[in-house]
Amino acid sequence: MRSLTTIFAFAGKEIRQVLRQPRLMVALIVGPFIILGLFAAGFQANPPPLRSVLVLPEDSGLEERIPQISEALDGDMEVIGVEHDVDLARERLDSREVDLVVIAPEDAVEIVRSNEHAPIVVLHDRLDPFDRAFITVAAQSAVDELNRVVLSEVTEVAQSEAGEYEEALPAARSSMGRMAEALRRGDETEARAAQSDAIDSLQSAEEGLGSSSDLLASLERSVGSGSQEPVGGRVGETRSEVESLDTADPAAADRAEEIEADLAELEQTLSEFRSISPEVLVQPFVAETELVRGQTVPLTTYYSPGVVAVLLQHVVLTFAALSVVGERQTGSTELFRVGPVRVGEFLAGKFLGYAFLGSVIAAGLMAVVIFVFGTPMFGSPWWAIAVLALTMSASLGLGFVIAAAANSDAQAVQFSMMALLFTIFFSGMVVSLSRLADGVRQVAYLAPATAGTAALQDVMLLGAPPAPIHIGILVIYTLVAFVLAYVWLNRRRVA
């Protein structure tokens, strides 16, 4: 009973001490909410568009494509002007008026004709690797879009040309119908005339369709079954077959009907080709991703569980570390040692007090991220509470270990800040753990927020129970930290 009285005395004292110190309250309790608010308000999932100036030859046709390309880039780049002089454009870059200078080649057609890629040069002055990566991706997207626009236009021309010769195929089909009919009547003269008409029409179609109509067949070969012959080739083959028909052959009428049916099929294929949008033809594939668990969430929402875990860890860890060191510095620990206070009671009392304060903070942080920032809670709230409780317990344990190691307030603050720095880099809140090398990834779990972040993301965003490994890590961490703190503080004779 005496132990319980002592433990609750410590808990009550810690809570009162924190509540009575407004500046400490602001720094350690209100502070996290302010940080969270600033983060949510200020974080830009998409960086502002890169202000770009294009350098084009005087009579370049590319200028007309700018609106299309800008629209396709969807805010990554914003073309704010066109120059015809590279030096003028560079001056605008040097004066930070623009972020990018995009230089188109003077003689793009000549370069392509010489079987080479025409380079589009992008100038920038960014040192930040993330900015540089973003510029590289944005520039490549712009060039891809330009290529797509050019190809679409070429394809559209081909489709249009194919249309002009489309009438020859129905004519050939009609002639074959006439031929079959004449053969069945026994009118060999009429049959030969119809055969001759069909050959003329097919020759005309074959010449006119050429490579343009073969685009579809090539497409089918590339990405489909691959069974389709090119339309041009099939017309040529049909013509040869019509030429080889012997009107004296008793089977010629049946064969003429078969050819008539083949031509109808060819017409259908050609019609399909013409009806396909040039954009689809030049860009037959688009990527579509599908999340099999949870829902796609905005970047701010994705970061929310990590921010909660890291802030909770930092606040309770700092509370615990400073509190124990403070007792030692004021000489209170001498009183505890002379009195009947044991290290276990001392730690349990402080744990209880700061667990209460930590719970209030955790509840507040969760309320803000859920009700203010709209972070979903797809999983069980009980799991979320369990994860937060374990993260807090492990963090308090770490705080007590830091207190045992530190000799002064200043040292405790330094160690706490080092723990925070470590957590920011390694907890997976900012940089995904999968990007860390083996070995380092395991070391990352020295911060309780690492397992806490992963577990909270599972619960809140995926709607799944936390991975057992993360729960196990937090439980073991808590036990090890408290045993270590107990032994260390006992050796330092704190109570």
Binding site: T5, K13, G331, L335, R337, V338, G339, P340
Partner: protein, 315 residues
């Protein structure tokens, strides 16, 4: 008289500084105020830390309330009160909350705790300030709050490490009044102080010098031991011959005679009460006219300096 504390040949040396206490022998009776007096660095706090179990001796044996302090059990610890040099109070908490916390550490709760707090607040006359935060009260009041926290569980034995350090004389007296009242309640108090005059409040004094107990005993006894007896000052109307002074000294059994002025001589005698009439008679017989004969009670500052000087000379 039963002993509250017994220390036999206790030595504790800090390896880092080489300071400590050596060969300390003490036997402190129950129900008395015991003063540990000595200059800064003389080993007072080290001795208190040994007696409270905060330190373990390198050699020797200590018993406090019949137990080894390094192995005190909870029940024994609750019989002890401790006021460290720095009052370990929580500035953000009120006076009463500090007391309630101190009481709870000893397992007190509910009504018993409230009554104990009321009692000590009345004792240190801080009832009106009980709601004030410790950060808002004066240094003297804090010291009294510290004393109250050490008292709140009614310990039999109290260790008070420089309870009056840094306080003005009026506050020092107030604190001592509280301590002397505790003596009337049969509490044993071990008080360290650098203020030698406070020895007058103690029943027993241990004078520490350079980590050793230079003298130990009741204040009057120490005073006597410091000067080799009691002091009698004789003021002659006219300076007599040295032979006359020697005659007077022989008649009163003086162990030491020395001039303290042109016409003034100080005799160290076994008993001043009997020496004064004998000195007067001897002077008349020798034809020397006396203007004044008085017993001198030396200030404890002088006693202390004499003891420390004697001890240093001996060491």
């Amino acid at each position: 008289m039963p002993e509250a504390i017994r220390a036999a040949d206790v030595t504790k040396v800090y390896t880092s500084s080489g300071e400590g206490v050596w060969n300390v022998d003490l036997s402190l009776p129950e129900g008395r105020v015991v003063g540990l007096i000595g200059p800064s660095g003389s080993g007072k706090t080290t001795l208190v830390r040994l007696l409270t179990g905060l330190l373990e001796p390198d050699s020797g044996r200590i018993e406090v309330l019949g137990k080894d302090p390094a192995r005190f059990e909870g029940a024994t610890r609750s019989r002890i009160g401790y006021l460290p040099q720095r009052s370990a109070l929580y500035p953000a908490l009120s006076v009463r909350e500090n007391l309630e916390f101190a009481a709870a550490l000893h397992g007190m709760r509910g009504r018993k705790r409230r009554e104990a707090c009321d009692r000590v607040l009345a004792f240190v006359e801080l009832e009106k300030a009980q709601g004030q935060k410790v950060s808002e009260i004066s240094g003297g009041m804090r010291r009294r709050v510290g004393l109250a926290t050490a008292l709140v569980h009614s310990p039999e034995l109290m260790f008070l490490d420089e309870p009056t350090a840094g306080l003005d004389p009026i506050l020092r007296r107030t604190i001592w009044e509280h301590l002397l009242e505790l003596r009337t309640r049969d509490r044993t108090l071990v008080v360290t102080t650098q203020i030698v005059g406070e020895a007058a409040y103690c029943d027993y004094i241990a004078v520490l010098s350079e980590g050793r107990v230079a003298e130990w005993g009741e204040p009057e006894e120490l005073r006597r031991r410091a000067f080799g007896g009691e002091l009698v000052d004789v003021l002659f109307a006219q300076r007599p011959a040295w032979s006359t002074i020697e005659e007077i000294a022989d008649s009163i059994g003086a162990t030491e005679t020395r001039n303290t002025g042109p016409r003034k001589v100080r005799f160290t005698v076994p008993d001043a009460g009997s020496a004064i009439p004998l000195a007067t008679a001897a002077a008349e017989k020798a034809g020397a006219e006396l203007e004044e004969v008085e017993r001198i009670v030396p200030e404890f500052d002088d006693v202390f300096v004499r003891i420390v000087d004697n001890h240093r000379a001996l060491v």
